[in-house]
Symmetry: C2
Subunit: 126 residues, 2 copies
Amino acid sequence: MTQAAFFVLTALADQPRHGYGILREVEELSEGAVQMRVGTLYGVLDRLTADELIVLDREEVQQGRLRRYYRLTDEGTAALDAEAERLAAGASAAKKRIAEGRRTPGSAPGTTGAPGTGHGLAGGLA
Amino acid sequence: MTQAAFFVLTALADQPRHGYGILREVEELSEGAVQMRVGTLYGVLDRLTADELIVLDREEVQQGRLRRYYRLTDEGTAALDAEAERLAAGASAAKKRIAEGRRTPGSAPGTTGAPGTGHGLAGGLA
DNA sequence: AAGAATATATCGGCTCCCGATATATTCAGC
DNA sequence: GCTGAATATATCGGGAGCCGATATATTCTT
């Protein structure tokens, strides 16, 4: 799952949205950090549709402008949930290791060559 | 920051490692979920080095085999920390929204009268 | 002697993201 | 009335990045 796909699924998780709405929503939910481009969006939308993670919900004409709404499928919700889990696990693992690295700094001056406890990871988190 | 780069940085967060060791470590820390390929690794290593997020720590010859160890720079640690934060925020936002979507399923009319009701999520997290 | 594991590295293909571009309507400002 | 910004759709070419295959070499296991 690509970053862009993840954010599109997230934007659609609470309610169906149309393309342009997804763009604004992604920006908003990421607090401005992610600014997805139109060129990215439609490719993602096509791929997610082909994978049946989203479907075309309905088409509306609002003030003369066409709005094409997409929504998550059950499979899409499950995929998003699983991906969120993976991301959280990865973030957690990274933070844990950063802390470990600070305790026993990498190429410690002087002490190089004596790793002591062989290798102290793999504690295994959830 | 790409997924592969994130996992390489994470593998190096606690101590310097050589290429092949990174491969095994990524698999271990992700509990088998991520299996990075050699073809991916060296491109990532080159890019991270160019960006000065990692540096060549030392070269050892162990049992006739060359081992090229890399370690994080301060900038690399900071980048990993920031990325972990972003990932955690994204995962948190996704889960929150999945829950919201379950409360107000699909194309539910009614409650969505006011546009932009400032649903500010992703507020705080670890 | 053969095969797996360790350890390095490169290359072509393919997927995917982005910037640019195109079209069309509505609304605010001048 | 005209212009520009916002809304809303869509496509295309370039480039970045991941993967599978491939290559080389040593050590360990069978």
